[in-house]
């Protein structure tokens, strides 16, 4: 203890460092448990998919926490990046599967199909629903998995970079920036609703649960594989962000959140730091989306409607802003609860004169919880862990005395 007082306690409160270890351990246990239960047939394939999707949402929430909770940018458009990641991987999934089907159809013919015949057949298969067989420009790389995987990172990353650069450079901040991000995701979703957007309009991309090359593999196996993939992505993403928000970068990001002008006078180019956080989190959100949609099986422009990004912010707020595990817990708890309530899992309450049907009333409940958390428990669900760790520490909460030499409560545990 004498040493600690000499140099002062470590920069990072121990709870932050141990929280990463605890989170990863809990994630590992959860993965093991789900795998064993699925193997024993105790949980269904659709439940495994639901849990896998939930882990992807948790990753998006952790990213949202970095951009909002740490950097103070309330982005209400991050689900646009999630959707773009999903579209990018969905294009390859759809192309490769359609190609396989078309080739199988043509195999019976005496002459092998020419490349242009093949293209036409794939084109009319995919784009028949929007009344065309021309393959749009943006599908140029759809035949190649590595290129589409690059798109998963590049498209959300570039959009965030350009959008962020324009917004931050003009010093748009606070509620105006939130509105701008809402406008971005709304514009993108409206554009994708059009048939000539090249992404099949309101039909979206479907059949994404069928992984080309694994036609004979059962969905049970595929769902477990994606569940593992999602857990791995969440673990790695968590580690990445825990590293980013520790040390001097985290210090500068939190400083930008608390007093942007002061950070400028320290010589930091605030806009670059905001752009860094915005773009990095957009990329990770895109990757989360690319893992989510093969499990969901379908993506359409509704997925990137403004309300999706608002949900993301609500999860982070309920889970607890400014702590990564809080965001993950918020996303997992609220999205699973939401699923339970809206799928009729919760028993309806008959009040005699009125029956509360949770499929309708769930949103009201969510709204009320959001308001209550914001007003009465700004630390969110994550704040519960503070109560636990505070109870374990020594009970002294007040100062030891009014003199300058008296010990502060923090020093009392020696």
């Amino acid at each position: 203890m004498a040493d600690a007082t000499l140099t002062g306690p470590a920069t990072v409160p121990p709870i932050r460092r141990t929280s990463t270890m605890i989170f990863l351990a809990a994630l590992a246990v959860f993965v093991l448990l789900v795998t064993l239960l699925a193997d024993a047939g105790m949980i269904s394939t659709s439940t495994v998919k639901l849990l896998g999707k939930t882990l992807c949402l948790a990753l998006a929430a952790v990213a949202m926490d970095v951009v909002w909770g740490y950097t103070g940018i309330l982005s209400l458009g991050h689900m646009a990046f999630f959707g773009l990641g999903g579209y990018a991987i969905g294009m390859w999934l759809m192309w490769a599967r359609t190609e396989a089907i078309v080739l199988a159809d043509m195999a019976a013919r005496t002459l092998p199909p020419t490349p242009s015949e093949l293209q036409d057949a794939i084109g009319s298969q995919i784009f028949g629903v929007v009344g065309t067989s021309d393959i749009p420009m943006i599908w140029t790389f759809a035949h190649s998995l590595p290129l589409q995987l690059a798109m998963v990172v590049l498209v959300p990353g570039l959009l965030a970079l350009v959008f962020g650069w324009l917004a931050f450079r003009s010093r748009v901040a606070g509620v105006y920036l939130s509105i701008l991000t809402q406008a971005m995701t709304l514009a993108l979703s409206l554009y994708l609703f059009q048939n000539d957007s090249g992404l099949r309009g309101n039909n979206g991309l479907s059949g994404l649960q069928n992984i080309p090359g694994f036609e004979t593999t059962s969905q049970a196996t595929i769902s477990i594989a994606f569940f593992w993939g999602s857990a791995l992505a969440l673990g790695l993403g968590y580690l990445l962000f825990a590293w980013v928000v520790s040390g001097r970068m985290g210090s500068v990001l939190r400083a930008v959140r608390d007093d942007e002008a002061r950070v400028r006078f320290l010589g930091y180019h605030v806009e670059s730091f905001k752009l860094f956080a915005f773009t990095l989190t957009a990329i990770v959100t895109g990757i989360a989306g690319a893992l989510y949609y093969p499990q969901a099986g379908i993506i359409n422009p509704n997925e990137i409607a403004p309300v999706a990004s608002i949900y993301l912010a609500v999860w982070v707020a309920i889970g607890g802003r400014g702590r990564l595990y809080g965001a993950a817990i918020g996303a997992i708890v609220v999205s699973l609860l939401s699923n339970w309530f809206t799928s009729g899992g919760a028993p309806d309450i008959d009040l005699g004169i009125y029956e509360i049907r949770w499929t309708e009333w769930w949103l009201v409940l969510l709204g009320v919880s959001f308001i209550c958390v914001t007003l009465f428990a700004p630390q969110g669900l994550g704040g519960l862990f503070d109560l636990l760790s505070a109870r374990r520490r020594s009970g002294r909460r007040a100062s030891y005395g009014p003199d300058t030499g008296a010990k502060r409560p923090e020093e009392g545990a020696e």
Partner: protein
């Protein structure tokens, strides 16, 4: 040789001339007090030098190469070597004294350098923390410090930035007489190595600084010289001291 040369700057806000053709120079090292009644343009002058406000006309020339600071961003000006101490102590209350100081220590401010650069600044941190008397409080959150300690932390952050020019806004505000003496000593000591501009309206404090004084009034220089010289100037007595 002159470090900062303010050359004919003017700025108006909604028709009000906050700064009116203001010119003066600051040497390196030098201790300079800028005084003037409320609305004389003291704060606006600091805002212009630090890049927060852009003047309508005029130039602010910096350093050996006569770099024009007008049009540069606040962060670029800070990196060039202009440090600013605010009237109200502004430290990052949610972060520890150590984190506050580490952020301020001179070094590459590029985001990637900040992220990947794991430099060892323990020695420098110890040195600064000792100088400002907060060594024992390195792990404490800045928000838990007393008002005076926050002032010292902010001064420590300024020192860590290693600026060539320090702009200090009303350093004596809210300090006990003992803390004022300490502050005067510190400012004088700093002025042996740096250029220090103290904006103040407490005449006693300025007198104790015992340095060259520039009196501002209605956005221009009314008088300049030693404390005794300016306090005997009839115009100065009229607009400022007479009140």
């Amino acid at each position: 040789m002159s470090l900062l040369e303010v050359d004919g700057i003017s700025v108006s806000f909604d028709g009000f001339r906050a700064i009116n053709n203001l010119s003066f120079t600051i040497e390196e090292p030098e201790l300079r007090a800028v005084i003037g009644p409320n609305g004389a343009g003291k704060t606006t002058f600091m805002d212009i030098v630090t890049g927060k406000t852009r003047p309508d006309t005029g130039k602010v020339l910096w350093g050996e190469d006569n770099l024009n600071l007008i049009g540069r961003s606040e962060s670029a000006i800070a990196r060039a070597g202009v440090g600013r101490k605010f009237q109200k102590p502004t430290v990052f209350e949610d972060q520890s004294v150590r984190e506050n100081l580490a952020m301020a220590i001179k070094g590459d401010r590029n985001p990637f350098a900040v992220l990947f650069g794991r430099r060892d600044d323990a020695a420098r941190l110890t040195e600064i923390a000792t100088e400002i008397g907060l060594f024992g409080r390195l792990g404490r959150k800045a928000g838990e410090l007393s008002h005076g300690q926050k002032q010292w932390l902010e001064i420590g952050m300024l020192l860590a930035q290693e600026p060539r020019l320090l702009l200090v806004d009303e350093p004596a505000a809210g300090m006990t007489p003992e803390e004022r003496t300490q502050t005067t000593d510190l400012l004088k000591r700093l002025a042996t190595r740096h250029a220090v501009v103290v904006v103040e309206h407490d005449m006693d404090f300025v007198r104790r600084l015992d340095c060259r004084v520039t009196v501002l009034h209605e956005g221009r220089v009314l008088a300049e010289g030693s404390v005794d010289h300016v306090t005997q100037n009839p115009e100065v007595i009229d607009v400022y001291l007479g009140r």
